[in-house]
Point group: C2
Chain length 364, copies 2
């Protein structure tokens, strides 16, 4: 596979998957299958966690938001994601989160695959959440509260339905139109959906609580009196410095699981806890090296901020699927050189190259 | 300009400039003009150095090379470059260095411009070298030794001819075929070129010495006995940990200038010097805050490793030029959403979206 991808790159350039083609890919395979496949890819990569060269993402903060780069690599593949978070974007008709990324060959540095990741990030985040819940929540969980009904909410709902067994949603958003959009989008899904008037009402009697709100502020979506024994909390929206969703007291009485501890201590719900606040990295539970949930009454928290390895897994899946389905196009992001030591040949063009261009134009 | 670029992005997506179109852009404007323009853009950005959010690049090292991400931002624009360095690539028919990058809008995170940067990096590195030499070398410099005649060498030669006033080149490469390629490529340039049998011979009687070799090893291209009073050394090839070109004693008796000190202490010629080894950042000289060359007998060294801000400047020039010349194409790297809060609408597609697609196909 490695040789094949590099051979294709050398012959015809980088495979590029646009946002419309990524959507087409997902429609063709079906969203449930894509979510399951991405979760499986994430699990496989998390199981070989020590193989990866990991680092906290680099972030450029500004008044309106943040732009981040998220690189990760193993001995064969390197990936990075570019992603922003600008809560004011929707007022301009732009998504709050926009993303794209690249999967590259470690041996040569060749960028094999360039893909949209706005849509793909929503899938991988939902797949990651479902994988964590499958690992940490009570196995008999059937009811989920979904707080925040924005761009990512339907993906979370369907991932929990198909991968975890959730049958009933209790949804709430400060913007009623968001809840209405969610209900419309999930018609025909088979989920039972109740729109609630408050977070407290939505959380009541839920087995799992997913928070996926977008405001860059200490929003404190969940407070201690809302939490019942045995709940699993999937905190997705708190993902940068100054942005949390859970009251600190909730963390003190729960067992907290994270993706990559160095990054979560900067960005996650635990950012205000002391450096020795106990957390478990999820890969340790998946590998059986650390316990997950230890009792039906325990409250478990997945403090998710999104880690580069999840994008690596998603890019692997999207590239393989695009190749299998014949989606995407080859682009000349990198010059093809007859002599790789003669880069100058590309622009030395005088009479000769001008004539070649004219010939080309005639041929077209 | 800011509003225009964002408006175009919202209306029709990211502007993408492929490697062939970047080459076309450079052919149309002419290489000397492009080098001059990029040097002017770099100078303008270096003069407002404190406006930028700077960081040392992130590097993923492997046995065969390195893959780096180089982000930088001011209050309005963010850029990053992806670039590799794999000395063994030419054996596979691939360039040693391949690169691409993005210029984005800080207020929204929108990726306005995606461009090849393999070719562009060669231009910006040469423009940067010439800008430094114009600032630091003796004004009467006319003879340059060029050690390493690989992919970047012709760009260095022409930048020094057109921006610094170099008339004569003395070239040397361990591979005689590289020197032959350089001579062929520079026919008609007006430069007088002498191919030499050794580095020592090439350096003899040169005013400026440019080293642009690619091996990842302590190559020690230049040794103290080669250096004459008044020389300016433009050390381009030493640009990662374990890769230097100059004997340490040369640095001790010279005045050393760098781009961004925190990065140069990791990657540059000064990587083996103590943390208090005196260097001057070039922007300080350009702004008149620190002296450059202080005498005709002084040896000056530009310890160049390549800094993200130079790519920011080059991306600004390439985007503006592409827009002016009508080059590049718009791509859907980010999904266009009728309702930016309804990302799910992209994949909810069942009967309705299928029908819309069919209609579209009929119309085409």
């Amino acid at each position: 596979m490695t040789a094949t991808a590099l051979t294709s790159f050398r012959a015809s350039g980088t495979l590029y998957l646009s946002a419309p083609e990524a959507a087409e890919l997902i429609r063709r395979l079906g969203l449930p299958l894509c979510l399951q496949q991405i979760a499986d890819h994430i699990r496989a990569d998390f199981l070989r966690w020590p193989d990866f060269d990991k680092s906290a993402r680099t972030a450029a903060h500004s008044q309106g938001g943040v732009i981040e780069l998220m690189p990760v690599a193993d001995a064969h593949r390197y990936s990075f994601k570019y992603v922003n978070g600008h809560p004011g974007n929707t007022r301009l008709g732009l998504p709050t989160v926009m993303a794209f990324g690249v999967l590259a060959d470690v041996d040569t540095g060749a960028p094999l695959f360039l893909s949209e990741l706005t849509l793909t990030t929503a899938l991988r985040t939902a797949a990651m959440s479902a994988l964590a819940a499958k690992t940490l929540a009570r196995p008999d969980s059937r009811v989920m509260a979904l707080i925040g009904n924005g761009a990512q909410s339907e993906f979370q709902a369907l991932a929990f339905q198909h991968l975890v067994g959730i049958e009933t949603l209790r949804v709430y958003d400060v913007d009623p139109a968001a809840a209405t959009k969610l209900v419309n989008n999930l018609q025909g899904s088979g989920l039972h959906i109740t729109v609630c008037d408050s977070t407290a009402e939505a959380v009541r009697s839920a087995d799992i609580v997913t928070t996926v709100t977008a405001d860059k502020a200490m929003a404190l979506i969940l407070t201690p009196e809302m939490i019942q024994p045995g709940m699993h909390l999937n905190a997705v929206g708190g993902d940068c410095p100054g942005k949390t969703e859970l009251h600190g007291d909730i963390l003190d009485t729960a067992q907290v699981f994270v993706e990559y501890e160095p990054q979560s201590r900067i960005e996650g719900e635990i950012q205000h806890k002391s450096a020795d606040f106990a957390v478990t990295e999820l890969w340790q539970v998946l590998r059986g090296e650390r316990p997950g949930r230890t009792g039906a009454e325990q409250v478990t928290v997945f403090d998710s901020v999104g880690f580069a390895l999840e994008d690596f897994s998603a890019l692997r899946f999207m590239m393989d699927s695009a190749l299998r389905l014949g989606l995407g196009e080859r682009i000349a992001l990198i010059p093809q050189l007859a002599d790789p030591k003669n880069l100058f040949g590309l622009v030395s063009g005088t009479a000769a190259s001008g004539a070649a261009r004219d010939a080309l134009e005639l041929a077209v």
